[in-house]
């Protein structure tokens, strides 16, 4: 009986082996989305807990990594949604100059806030595609959507960010 088959039957040693094999990749994927080590750890553990709970529904010959990525992405997306609800972008930002490092830091903060004000689904697509340079196909698989949908979310994100940055008078 192979590892995945033993896992589906509730073998804890098999689960531990799969956990150790995939924890790094799942953590890295979540970290790319949420960009916070503490939350990434919690969400990684939560991902594997959901995997363990749903083990009976997993086909032993299925793609464990793809399944784990899908669950991890959904959890990370929910986290980004919650975070977006908590943070609000101030209505009008003053014009800034890059001459002073403190001012530059302030500008980066404004950009981050503008970015976090994007709808969560768009934020995740933009982070993975533009900041983390992940292929569109990989993002689509993890989100369970078509590649075209990922592209349109990134495009919409670009438009919204342009608008925010213009309002903040940051020249991209």
């Amino acid at each position: 009986m192979d590892l995945q088959e033993r896992f589906t039957k509730g073998d804890l040693d098999a689960f531990e082996a799969l956990f150790r094999q995939f924890q790094g990749r799942v953590y890295a994927w979540i970290m790319r989305i949420v960009r916070d080590a503490g939350h990434a750890e919690d969400l990684t553990v939560e991902t594997f807990w959901r995997i363990y709970q749903a083990r009976a529904r997993f086909r032993p010959d299925g793609d464990f990594a793809a399944w784990a990525y899908r669950i991890a992405t959904n959890l990370a997306l929910s986290h980004v949604k919650r975070r977006s609800r908590e943070d609000e972008l101030p209505p009008d930002e003053p014009s800034v100059s890059l001459a002073n490092p403190a001012v530059e830091q302030e500008e980066h903060e404004q950009i981050r806030r503008a970015f976090q004000s994007l709808p969560a689904k768009i934020q995740v697509a933009v982070t993975l595609a533009l900041v983390e340079d992940r292929p569109y196909q990989e993002i689509a698989d993890a989100l369970g959507i078509a590649t075209g949908t990922v592209k349109s979310r990134v495009f919409r994100g670009l438009q919204l960010l342009r608008k925010h940055l213009k309002r903040m008078r940051v020249h991209a």
Partner: protein, 84 residues
Amino acid sequence: MKAGNHLKQVHLKHDEEEVRAVLRGALPAVDTEPPRDLWPAMLRRMEEAAPAARVPWYDWALAAGLATVVLFFPKVLLLFAYHL
């Protein structure tokens, strides 16, 4: 028409590159290596979720009934002892 589309594509690509550069400047690169082995945290999560051993209410009622009988009729213990 084709030249117009090409120009639009070039403009979009340029736009994407500019926003990408701004975002990368503002969002610091993240370390994607887990800082520690997460298996102990996984085990804690599983323990937390495990349902605590619960005694159903009718078992408590049965135990209370037996205790009452023994209290009022102590000799019944001898009967139990005989059957053991």
